[in-house]
Amino acid sequence: MMNQSQRPANWAQLTPEQKRAWRFQNWADSVQHIQFVSPAARQHYQAQIERLSAVYQVREPDRVPVIISTGNLPYSEAGLDYKTAIHEPEQAVQACLKFSEKHTSDLDTFASSMVFPATSMENLDYHMYIWPGNGLADSATGFQFVEGEYMLANEYDALLRDPTDFWMRTYLPRVYGAFKPMQQVSPLTDIFEIVKADMLFLANPDVQAMLQKLLDSGKLLKRYMQANIELRDQLLANGYAAAPMAGFAKAPFDTVGDTLRGTKGIMRDIYRQPDKLLKAVDLLADITINNVLSSPGACDGQTVTYPLHKGADGWMSQKQFETFYWPSLKKTMEAFIQEGLIITLFAEGSYNTRLDYVDQFPKGTVVWWFDQSDMAKAKKTLGDHCCIQGNVPSSLVMTAAPAATREYCRQLIEACAPGGGFILGQGCQAEFPKIENLQAMVDAAREFGVYRK
């Protein structure tokens, strides 16, 4: 395990800066707890931590760090198709480890995503994603999101009155077939004293079948968890270093818009029931804060990562952004910053029209990971107090010659590296990047991104 420190007893009295400093120190100390495969792996790990720690704090490291998304490349290099990879996690892990052993030194880092737990999700009859073997062709190379109105327009009051009850008896049964019997169950707050009646739902055969299914799904999930833990530990041993995630969060507006009401639903709600929508995003901000801060990683993790969706350029007017999107997002960010966490915002699409407005946080607390934004403008607007990450286009890493990728990176480094606080990375996840282009990215950082020898 990587982080073993206990928080200081006076944690609650520390300032956000002190909490942040403690987390950085904890990360730096992690080098002592890992059994590295070689001295070179240890050195690689340490160098990468120092580099990332410096840029997160908007200082100059020894050179520009690179964060790579490998997509399905580890699977395809091992001759593993995506469908097999997500159904046979041990094979997926072996493929990733082989890839890591081969490429860690020439790729700087190796971002491995968790293996998608397909068999468990199939058992739960999950409706929000489709994947090969479940709604997509066997040859499909990823999973896809199925947008829907999983919460109806007239259900805001139910959500606001008792979100947990809404989740358990209305939302989950729509999203997971396995939870459908919950629609027959009374609110669990009905359980208070009268023993004969209170627990009757447990005698319902559908509920019993549901509970059995949940148990089975948990067993299936365990296999994935073990595989993913093995992968993480082995990658650490190989010298792979990424900031420990304290959690994953979504902007409350995206939670409502992506997974509850759907795009059309939420856009209509802006007009038809704006007050309820605003109450809902504020409620979801509190839920998001609680979810992240009560998760195990929050204790000694470093970053909270958000994928931002519906607030990007073109999605809504600035006024709509300032009214519906931003306040609840900011509320969550401030709560995490208060705990000494660093926020990584993956701004998919572009954020050019928002850059001035979102500049509202202390130095060294927010990393902006840009996809198609104007990087020079972003650097100018946010660069002296925010770390900036990005934005090599997936079109380049998938289809261009390495020379073109290298030239793009050179220009990017020229625009964004001065003063530190820059991570060279892709704009968005590419399913099948060319390995030569990933190498070209790292080579460019090594050649053009050196601050000091």
């Binding site: 856009m267 209509r268 073109g314 709509q320 286009p393 079109s395 998938m398 968005c428 399913e431």
Partner: protein
């Protein structure tokens, strides 16, 4: 003076637009004239979107109001007058990709600018594009895609159009999430558009407008 249907729709005033529609129907106005006004309102919505005064919420809501107006008018319609069209476009999200938000915005903008749009939906196999182009003799094709897997699907679709002997008869535009000039060259399309407004510009150019 009470607001007229054109402006109510353009200003996204749902209640007013519906009550005006009801009043006009009760006064036995020509249902086609009511629909024509609604379409005029939608064109203004499209213009405002093109000028970045309106965004996705506004577009979606205008579509809602139009649907409600149309539902009210429909029972009174004996023969619908087809709206005047300036061109045709075959549109769809390419095979393997099920994203439809961008697709529907492009559909909306083309439609409100006077194009007949054959929207084939999402996850459209290359052959389906070929069949539709052939069936409708449409000279403009618009391929949408959000995921990076769309690069190859678009390339395959362009190739299928070529193999069917139709490439010289059509102009092909691509757009969506990660699409750029690099992908345009990779797929062999004629142009890429970064948003729905550019899709309209391209369609007009290619339709001789």
């Amino acid at each position: 003076m009470p607001m007229d249907l054109v402006n109510c729709l353009a200003d996204l005033k749902e209640d007013e637009a519906l009550s005006i529609t009801k009043n006009r129907l009760e006064a036995h106005e020509d249902p086609n004239a009511i629909l024509a006004d609604a379409r005029k309102g939608m064109s203004i919505v499209g213009e405002r979107f093109a000028k970045a005064e309106y965004f996705i919420p506004d577009l979606i809501f205008s579509g809602e109001i139009l649907k409600e107006v149309t539902d009210l008018v429909k029972p009174h319609l004996t023969a619908a007058a087809p709206p005047k069209r300036i061109g045709k476009v075959v549109l769809g999200t390419v095979a393997g990709d099920i994203h439809d938000i961008g697709l529907n915005i492009v559909d909306f903008m083309l439609d409100s600018n006077g194009f007949e749009v054959y929207n084939l939906g999402v996850d459209v196999p290359a052959q389906k594009f070929v069949d539709k182009i052939r069936e409708t003799q449409t000279p403009v094709v618009a391929l949408s895609g959000f995921l990076t897997l769309a690069f190859d699907s678009m390339k395959d679709t362009v190739k299928a159009i070529e193999s069917a002997g139709l490439r010289k008869d059509v102009k092909i535009m691509i757009g969506g999430g990660q699409i750029d000039d690099q992908v345009k060259n990779y797929t062999g399309a004629d142009a890429f558009g970064k948003d729905a407004v550019e899709a309209v510009t391209l369609a007009k150019k290619w339709s001789g407008g």
